[in-house]
Symmetry: C2
Subunit: 343 residues, 2 copies
Amino acid sequence: MGRKPTGRPTSFDIAYAAGVSQPTVSRALRGDRSVSEQTRQKIQQIARDLNYTVDKNASSLRSQRSNTIALLFFEDPTPDESMINPFFLAMLGSITRACADRGLDLLISFQRMEDDWHVKYQDSHRADGLILLGYGDYTTYTPKLEKLVAQGTHFARWGSVSLDSSGATVGTDNVDAGRKVGEHLVGIGKRDIAFLGEADETCPEFLGRYTGLCKVVEDAGLPAPPRFDAITTEEAGYAAAKALLSSGGTCDAIFAASDLIAIGAMRAIAEAGKRVPNDIAVVGFDDIPAASLTTPPLTTVTQDVKGAGETLVEALLAQIDEREVKPRKLPGELVIRGSTTQN
Amino acid sequence: MGRKPTGRPTSFDIAYAAGVSQPTVSRALRGDRSVSEQTRQKIQQIARDLNYTVDKNASSLRSQRSNTIALLFFEDPTPDESMINPFFLAMLGSITRACADRGLDLLISFQRMEDDWHVKYQDSHRADGLILLGYGDYTTYTPKLEKLVAQGTHFARWGSVSLDSSGATVGTDNVDAGRKVGEHLVGIGKRDIAFLGEADETCPEFLGRYTGLCKVVEDAGLPAPPRFDAITTEEAGYAAAKALLSSGGTCDAIFAASDLIAIGAMRAIAEAGKRVPNDIAVVGFDDIPAASLTTPPLTTVTQDVKGAGETLVEALLAQIDEREVKPRKLPGELVIRGSTTQN
DNA sequence: CTGAAAGCGCTTACAG
DNA sequence: CTGAAAGCGCTTACAG
């Protein structure tokens, strides 16, 4: 045979071998129902024998659809430019799997907040849509989102669901999760709970967690939880706890807006000569792998990472197909460990 | 203006606006030196104004080059199917950055050992080459590699450099790193060192680390380090240490082939009522984020993750361009923490 | 159920 | 330095 002396076979080679036209090969290989069962079988067999695969570039160019999704991590530039939040890494895994299950390819890219996200993938037709994952200042983030919407770019994002009704947003029910944490802490007899994390408009997710905590505390007739700002790093958690402990105020529990913050806080607590959980109970958020390795192990909130990946991909696909997309809240689950209960 | 009523502009639109031919636009935008400076400037300005980007599918189809690399993680299927080794996640970050610096897109995919890697990307022309990252049984891995070579697929891999002279392999100098660990342990007076990890042909990297350790121990006239098999998981490390401690044998130091193994081992040591580092010193490998969080913090070996990403991408690019590629060894750095020294 | 024709948006010889 | 022509390998109306 060997119609083409070099390179990989094309649909014309398959067509020649099967004695049909090239468009029929294209149809058969995509499982088009209009091709007769017999012809389809034959063509698929030959394609297999010749080790043929459809050229994605040609197919995407013609059909104007790439079956590819681009995953953009964005983050504030960090001084050490290293640490990605482990939680997002877990998300990456679940999104990868969700894409693979649907035959989608996944492009990935780390973006700085300053960058022009939209241009890169959608405009160059590499991807049918974008999934946005990240943390960082929400106030600089929002205008970019609006630009994406204005451009008609398809995207789904992970984040705070409440503040944003613009379609494909998926996130943990942070208020509910904050409530669960509050109930647990109040339930074990804590009365004086502090919150560590930037709970304002720059970070609506943290704000939700704080809000949930406040509700429970208020209902129990306890003093409102003081807040100490911290971004999602161990260093920030350490500094915030330092500030809390040296402010002269007392507290018998800390709810940190993330595990990274909680881990930093535990270091500060140890340095201050206090004990976890007896003097101060500590709760984190995310359930990163390191959370079970601290001393004592960290009580935290597990987010539904697997469900998140599935839901994000589904939401994006729905948007691409112009189906209706509603924001989705996923439940967070409290995981109780030694940092809030002695054993 | 508005030549096309709908959709994004093409190079024809730019050509029309600039009063030149379409091929000239193509040349100007790629910075072809043959286009006059003036024309080039003008075209680039117009392209910017019209928010034009080159259609990657068309350009890849025509040029038969995609400027895209596919990163394949492969792993033995794990029961919980969750945990990716944190070390490879760090590698992902550095490879992403190295690709971005060179204007390459990055496709990512997790593969099971059983899968047919080669077909997926190279054959469908999505990627110019593959980077292979992973762990798992090397003996099932090698035949796949050979198949890739036979197919003329371009790839670079992270792994054991010594056993494999086939081009684009990059890895830590495991023997040297093992030696550093051995010297440290012998230097602090340990005499009876055990190795935890599958140090045979199924995992040449672990074997290298063991070999380095053995050399030092032998030179010091100490008994050869016993080996206890463990794959790279916490559970396996726990089980291996259990086996070691209950074998009735004594040991005053453990070199674990990975941090995950070391963390599991420390748990087993604590359960056996022994203290780290006084009764048993522990050293890991990889310096994952969790390594500094254990009690005591884990002495380990840092691999040059940043250099690894750069080197892998460079090696792959060289291979694609048919330039000569030599295997590259990167140094590992010992990081001494509390698990081998009291303070 | 199948085929002939057109065309997706580029890049690349080939001319001049 | 620039243009006219061809063609990368598919998918999609359109006919029959």
